[in-house]
Amino acid sequence: METVKVAFTVNNEETVLQVSPNETLLETLRERLDLTGAKESCGIGSCGACTVEVNGLPLRSCIVLTSEMQGADITTVEGLNREGKLHPLQQTFMEEGAVQCGFCTSGMIMTAKTLLDKNNQPTQKEIIKTISSNVCRCTGYKKIVKAVGEASKKTA
């Protein structure tokens, strides 16, 4: 396999890597860049635990090749709290008790972030629709929906 040279930005840091063509973005983040916040749960794009933000959109990194990431602007959950300050979603997920086992949390927060970035006053219905992209096994989603709503008040 010919390796592929890819240059992209991760959490504001420019990164240039030589990757195998069959390497997924999730593998690159976790194995090479030690960004283990994104998780592999289903491995086939059906649960959202690996969601990261790429060019402003939520992306399931387990079914995307790193080779496709040339020029991309990538944000992972580790990149959300800048200068020691938590992102409003991180704050409200804690305050509202939206975190239990935590395995879906990064993906859930990143999905919600892309919603708030383009719609900072979502209705409850819109929040539910967006986070219905992600599976959570612990919470019953109620506190997650609440946390996203509360965060939208902080970002408004």
Partner: protein, 314 residues
């Protein structure tokens, strides 16, 4: 779960993509959003020598309403298409099926081209190599018999594109590019009816654009699924109504959508049409709900969808 080995190439034009395909002597797969292809690769249901990324082909990203057609580039994502003003205004049916496709995150990645050319699915097929090896290879894997219908020689895996049903109901056409040039076909003509090889297109053919006649229509999409997000249809019906002519497309059951034109919309005609759609549906135990139920639901959804359109028309 790691991917198998392959080369990665990025195409810059349609011609470039086809040339790359031929460079790899046909042992390549086109990649658009990857939401269908990547799981297939992970499960070793495809083992191409190369992946040819189409996302760099700018000309396939456009949506244009010209010359009486809405022309949609194959690279347009489902989410972009869903939010396009012309779609909302002219084709409520397409809006509904796009909105009912999987979930928002995947709508933002999946392209309309990939959605239409997605592989057919079966509960005994979309599994890892180890799972399938233990079960025994089926018709679609090149084996001798079907794993869900013993002794069957036909693969009835399900074609699960939500949007194909809308587009067929809307009489959409598909532009197909091959090494020899482009051709156009009615979308409903691209299906073989066999789950083993669901599409008539030759290997290397690229779906470049979808074209829908630009006439306002009413429409309803009815989808049977267990969860209200992420899930593929277990049966689905799309109805497009133009000038009191209803064109109905049934899918999610079997390898190809089935089209019906309703001669009238009176209760008797509708009942007969719904019954015959139910009779036509070739449901086998290849999904999580029973085949008898799915078959029955084709009729129920058929009637519901048409009645709903009629109510809206009133």
């Amino acid at each position: 779960m790691i991917l198998p080995g392959f080369e990665y190439r990025k195409a810059t034009s349609v011609a470039d993509a086809i040339a790359l395909y031929n460079d790899f002597e046909g042992k390549a797969r086109y990649l658009a959003g990857g939401t269908d292809l990547m799981p297939l690769l992970k499960y070793r249901l495809a083992a191409p020598a190369a992946i040819i990324d189409l996302k760099g082909i700018e000309e396939l990203k456009a949506i244009a309403a010209i010359d009486g057609w809405l022309t949609i580039g194959a690279n347009v994502t489902l989410f972009e298409l869903k939010n396009h003003p012309v779609v909302k205004e002219y084709f409520p049916l397409l809006y509904q099926s796009l909105d009912a496709t999987s979930c928002e995150t995947l709508q933002m990645r999946a392209t309309i081209g990939g959605n239409l050319l997605q592989d057919t699915r079966c509960i005994e097929y979309n599994k890892s190599l180890e799972w399938r090896a233990a079960r025994g290879f089926c018709l679609k894997m090149g084996g001798k018999c079907c794993n869900v219908v013993p002794h069957s020689r036909v693969c009835l895996s399900n074609y699960c594109s939500d949007n194909a049903l809308s587009l067929v109901a809307l009489s959409a056409e598909a532009d197909l590019a091959e090494a020899g040039g482009e051709k156009t076909a009615g979308l409903e003509k691209i299906y073989t009816g066999s789950g083993s090889k669901p599409f008539v297109v030759e290997p290397g053919t690229l779906l470049t654009r979808i074209r829908i006649p630009l006439e306002k229509s009413k429409g309803v999409y009815e989808k049977l699924r267990v969860r209200n997000s992420i899930d593929y249809p277990l049966a689905a019906v799309a109805v497009a109504m133009k000038k009191s002519v209803a064109r109905v497309c049934v899918g999610g059951v079997g390898p190809a959508p089935l089209v019906y034109e309703l001669a009238g919309t009176d209760e008797g005609t509708l009942r007969d049409a719904a019954n015959s759609a139910s009779t036509d549906a070739r449901a086998v135990p290849n999904a999580i709900l029973s085949p008898a139920y799915r078959k029955k639901m084709v009729g129920v959804l058929f009637r519901r969808a048409v009645q709903k359109v009629l109510r809206e028309g009133a």
